[in-house]
Amino acid sequence: MATATNSMSITIGANSSVKGIGNVSVTVTQQPIEVTALGDDYTRHVVGILTAQCDLDFFWDSGVAGHTAILSGIEAGTAINPLTISWAASKSISGKAMVTSWNLTAAPNGVCQVSASLIYTAADSDAASPITITQ
């Protein structure tokens, strides 16, 4: 059955239930690696590297710590740990993320909005998966 998102929440670093998030999307990609051998009748693949990207749209409010954390992420390279998208009880995608873009839109007669992109990534020394999916 479809899941309603009325108990959704976003955690950005140490800031839980961040306000003003208008829209969020997460894309998880599993890169296939082709291992087809000469003489095979069909292609063969094995599972490759997992990668995930998160796009956040929010109404910019400099008084919200979660929003400024995203700005710090792009300004100072501070990692967002964790970045958790929870769309219902016990249903979430979480991990360590790096901000790759921050796009502020401010037009006359409107309110300031920010679109930010993040990738879930492990640090050099991390052996653990940078993303945890609880479904």
Partner: protein, 127 residues
């Protein structure tokens, strides 16, 4: 709720010329002019967790002449903006609003119908 504040701002603490002739939704044709008709057709969550709501509000100022309709619309916008933002302090934002002057409508024969000046407002509100 912001709906109550809108009504209170325009009706309960009247400071507009049509303070005692504010109508919610529609105006009876036999009612006196000038009058203000208020509609709030949409209100919805704009952000995750119901922390930010967005409303659209329509203010139609109806008067005998276009000048008085425009004047009333301007007064209503100012009144509403002052009241709502005042009551809700920092958790309410109203986008810049203008009340374009509608073309005068000519009815049966050569008689002009009442002049109408309509403003559409977008209100962002956090409880």
């Amino acid at each position: 709720m912001i709906e109550a504040n809108v009504v209170a701002g325009l009706v309960a603490a009247p400071q507009t010329a049509a303070a005692d002739r504010v109508h919610i939704g529609a105006r009876l044709q036999s009612g006196a002019l000038p009058a203000l008709v208020v509609r709030m057709p949409t209100g919805e969550s704009a952000a995750v967790g119901d922390t930010l709501h967005v409303y659209t509000l329509e203010l139609s100022a109806v008067a005998a002449t276009m000048v008085s309709a425009q004047s009333l619309a301007a007064a209503a916008i100012t009144k509403l903006r002052t009241y709502i933002v005042g009551v809700n302090a920092s958790n309410c934002v109203i986008e810049s609003t203008y009340a374009p002057i509608d073309d005068p409508v000519v009815g049966e024969g050569d008689e002009a119908e009442p002049a109408v000046c309509t403003a559409n407002l977008t209100i962002y509100w956090t409880p």
